[in-house]
């Protein structure tokens, strides 16, 4: 079905960004309201489209809109078209819904910032780009949005670019994303070379004709793209530094939406991964590694935002793991993505609220006992906490347990390994999230007298309350009667498989709950019953030191990529200056030198030239003399 209103989803925030950026200081007074309205308008369009889709029969729900013919070169035809199917609309609602809430939150959070208008312009631009990413009907259109969100992310991480470290963090995120972007562009090129088309529909139809090898190549390249954008191992290093951006940005871009684009890409490309088992297995392994990786880093971080960022990394690891488990897992990956969007955005906003009340202090060791001063923040953060560690009936319980269950049931050694990793991750998650909550809200106060903790204004806590409601109810809502799974079925072709079931859902839930209880209990013993030092203790194990340093990922990157790269460029520079320039200058010097030698013969005096003529005449006569005698 075609629909002409799809374009308004993107056009409204894009218009907002353009107006805010082009109108300059004139819109300083009303820019934030305007940006929020544009985002809300987009959300309204999304809801109306969703209702329209609900009214259609299952097989005919997808909406399309062709905007214009973009590329028309021989057999290569790409239209700028939009596609809103069941998968896209989930994202549309998440992006515009959470996005609008965060716009509202930012009005208050950024109220003292001189550049608030620019901030809203970037936020609107991000919403537009992200919507284009999820609404594009071909890989090429998706790629445009993909780059757009990368740019928005860069601009917003470096929003306070007057601090060099923040600007560096933005650059780091951008560079790490470029590696992934290269993977995406390669995937598109391979797809075009082997299948002759880059539209989702076309690739889906022709995928079965391609060889497994090329499909695996496409899959691996798509995975590389996903690891870049979604901060998965081994391209995860940028996410922690990305917390340099304002907290609403961390909540929206680096927790709820942009970083989940990788999961969207993999789920969207299910028709490729289902035909390329090797690539699919790689996806699952990457997810499992990252979920443990992020969880371990999360245990060691004292910066509340970095701890949440590590948690984000870990939770996206769960989603990628789910997406890597094939048709059985796609729906749960998306479900976890949506629930995570609620509770993680809520917790980030809570962290922002805490920072707002604590003079932008981010070190959790200098918080403590804040629940009395910030009751609403504590309540919403606490609900998000219960959701993420997977306590029933909160959202995380439904989505995460399902992923663990599907992992165990994947079969064979693979299933046991992946399932165990996911279970272990759940336990660690429980530990570090409990640590965050205890350090922040419980215990005795550890801040100095300069801080005056207070509850945030209404515009800030209202979005937190709404997100907290989402993190309470969304899991049940999505699972009830398999609603989300059935909704997504036409896109991901999920086939509920219970054959060869290793562990039943009940067993998995009980196992997970036991492990979560262990994690929570250990954290309570360690941080609630014992005194927490204001400065991180230095006499810790090597393992903790490594975790504090993001498991040495930066050191690894520097040693393996940066230093050899620098050596290479230095070598090339030397080769350029010595060899190439040397050759060029050498020729020039030869000409100059010979010219200088010859110049000495050119005195400018007629008589010396006459002398040369005489010499020539002598030579001539001498030749005649030699020849004739």
């Amino acid at each position: 079905m075609t629909s002409n209103s799809l374009v308004y989803l993107i056009a409204l925030p894009l218009f907002g960004a353009a107006v805010l950026l082009l109108s300059g200081r004139r819109s300083d007074r009303w820019g934030h309201i305007f940006g929020t309205l544009m985002s809300a308008g987009s959300f309204a369009v999304g809801v109306s489209l969703f209702l329209k889709m609900l009214g259609n029969p299952t097989g005919e729900r997808a909406l399309t809109q062709k905007l214009f013919s973009w590329i028309s070169v021989g057999s290569f035809q790409v239209d700028a078209g939009l596609l809103a199917d069941q998968l896209s609309i989930c994202f549309v609602l998440l992006i515009t819904g959470v996005g609008t809430l965060i716009h509202v939150y930012s009005i208050a959070y950024m109220s003292h910032d001189l550049d608030r208008r620019r901030f809203f312009a970037y936020l609107n631009f991000f919403i537009a780009a992200m919507l284009l990413l999820v609404l594009g009907d071909s890989y090429l259109n998706l790629y445009v949005g993909w780059e757009g969100v990368g740019l928005a992310s860069y601009l917003l991480i470096g929003f306070w670019n007057q601090k060099p470290t923040y600007a560096t963090a933005a650059k780091k995120a951008f560079v790490a994303n470029r590696v992934g972007d290269m993977g995406l562009s390669l995937a598109i090129m391979i797809a075009f070379a082997t299948l002759g088309t880059v539209s989702f529909q076309g690739v889906k139809e022709h995928a079965s004709q391609a060889s497994t090898g090329s499909l695996t190549a496409i899959g691996i390249m798509l995975l590389v793209a996903a690891t870049g954008k979604s901060a998965q191992f081994p391209l995860q290093a940028w996410l922690g530094d990305a917390m340099a951006g304002p907290t609403p940005v961390s909540a929206l871009i680096h927790a709820a939406t942009m970083v989940t684009a990788g999961v969207y890409l993999i789920t969207r490309s299910n028709f490729i991964f289902d035909l390329a088992p090797t690539a699919q297995l790689a996806v699952a392994i990457i997810g499992a590694i990252t979920l443990l990786f992020g969880a371990i880093i999360g245990m060691a971080k004292d910066d509340i935002k970095k701890a949440l960022a590590a948690s984000t990394m870990s939770q996206i690891g769960y989603m990628v793991l789910g997406a890597g488990l094939g048709p059985a897992g796609y729906a749960f990956a998306i479900m976890h993505l949506l629930t995570h969007g609620f509770f993680k955005a809520g917790m980030f906003l809570g962290a922002g609220s805490v920072m707002h009340g604590m003079n932008d202090e981010v070190n959790m060791r200098r918080y403590g006992g804040l629940r009395k001063f910030m009751p609403i923040t504590f309540a919403t953060f606490g609900l998000g906490y219960l959701a993420i560690i997977g306590v029933p009936p909160f959202a995380g319980f439904y989505s995460k347990d399902k992923i663990i269950e599907v992992a165990f049931n994947a079969g064979g050694v693979k299933g046991i390994a992946l399932g165990t990793a996911a279970l272990l991750g759940a336990m660690i998650t429980a530990f570090y999230m409990t640590r965050v909550v205890i350090l922040t809200f419980a215990g005795s106060k550890r801040w100095d007298d300069k801080a005056h903790p207070h509850e945030s204004p209404f515009l800030m806590w209202a979005p937190m309350v709404l997100l907290a409601l989402g993190s309470v109810a969304s899991g049940f809502f999505f699972t009830h009667g398999n609603s989300l799974r059935n909704w997504l079925a036409p896109v991901v072709e999920a086939t509920p498989s219970h054959e060869g079931e290793l562990l039943s859902p009940a067993v998995v839930s009980i196992l997970a709950l036991v492990l979560v209880a262990i994690g929570v209990g250990y954290a309570i013993i360690k941080y609630l019953l014992n005194e927490v030092p204001q400065v991180a203790p230095a006499d810790v194990t090597v393992f903790t030191k490594a975790a504090r340093k993001d498991l040495l990922q930066d050191n690894f990157n520097e040693a393996v990529f940066m230093r050899p790269g620098q050596s290479l460029t230095r070598g090339l520079q030397v080769a350029d200056t010595k060899l190439i320039d040397g050759a060029v200058h050498g020729i020039a010097r030869l000409a100059i030198g010979s010219g200088n030698l010859l110049r000495k013969t050119q005195t400018g005096f007629v008589r010396s030239y006459a002398m040369w003529i005489l010499a020539g005449a002598i030579a001539l006569v001498a030749t005649i003399w030699v020849v004739t005698l």
Binding site: R607, M611, W625, L629
Partner: protein, 260 residues
């Protein structure tokens, strides 16, 4: 007799005397031409060499060329040289010290080598060669024979050379032509300039020399009514040459005073 001697390859004694007197003289004159400082002296010496050569031509049965040599070279060309020397400055003499380092020894050594080679080649080319002489060729007269050649075999070269001569004359005229950079002032311009000048005293024209002085020569400045000499009454050329006579002795009052 002369013809027989020529056939034998030897000239007769009078010619030998002529040669041995004039030949060394010509070479010495040429050397002197190089060494004298003044260009005029060089020109005189060159004229002498040319006359010598004219005599040699006549001695070698080239009477026409000998006359032409005297008329064209010694007459026209050398006079042209002297005329130009006069224009450029008879006084212009150059110091004979060399300014380009090492040029003079190199030039002399090279030229001597060159001369040696030439002499050696001439010797090689002429020793043991039979001499034909011009008796047969000049049978109908030297001028007639030359004219026959010029207007038959060499008529094309003759025409080309005549064109060259005309071109050279034109070229010399073009080179000597003096381009005027600004327009020549008209009488109107001059009159305007006189009245707009610094002083109206110039408006009526310059005083003539010798006026009110007791001397009428052009090299004596005029005396103004107040008795002072006017420098404006004297030609600038005379002033530059220093040929102006002081007019004070001719002042009326001075004379009157003397008489009293």
């Amino acid at each position: 007799m002369i013809h027989q001697a020529l056939a034998m390859g030897h000239t007769q004694t009078p010619e030998a005397v002529l040669f041995w007197v004039l030949g060394p003289l010509a070479v010495l004159s040429a050397l002197a031409m190089l060494m004298v400082k003044k260009a005029v002296h060089s020109a005189i010496l060159l004229a002498w060499i040319m006359i010598t050569l004219a005599i040699f031509y006549i001695a070698q049965d080239a009477a026409f060329l000998g006359i032409v040599q005297v008329v064209v070279y010694t007459g026209a060309v050398m006079m042209l040289f002297l005329f130009i020397l006069m224009l450029v400055g008879v006084e212009s003499s150059e110091s004979l010290t060399e300014t380009i380092k090492g040029l003079r020894p190199i030039a002399i050594v090279a030229a001597l080598g060159f001369g040696g080679l030439l002499v050696s080649l001439i010797g090689h080319a002429t020793i043991g060669r039979a001499y034909v002489g011009l008796v047969d060729a000049n049978a109908g007269g030297n001028v007639q024979a030359l004219a026959g050649l010029l207007f038959s075999k060499y008529v094309w070269a003759f025409e080309v050379v005549s064109a060259l001569l005309i071109t050279a004359a034109l070229g010399a005229m073009v080179l000597a032509h003096n381009h005027r950079l600004i327009q020549r002032p008209t009488q109107r311009d001059l009159a305007t300039a006189r009245f707009r000048g610094t002083s109206l005293a110039r408006a009526a024209g310059l005083p003539g020399p010798g006026v009110y002085a007791l001397h009428n020569a052009v090299d004596v400045p005029a005396l103004l009514p107040d008795g002072t000499p006017s420098q404006a009454s004297i030609s600038a050329t005379l002033k530059a040459r220093g040929d102006v006579i002081d007019s004070r002795p001719f002042q009326l009052s001075a004379i009157e005073n003397e008489e009293e």
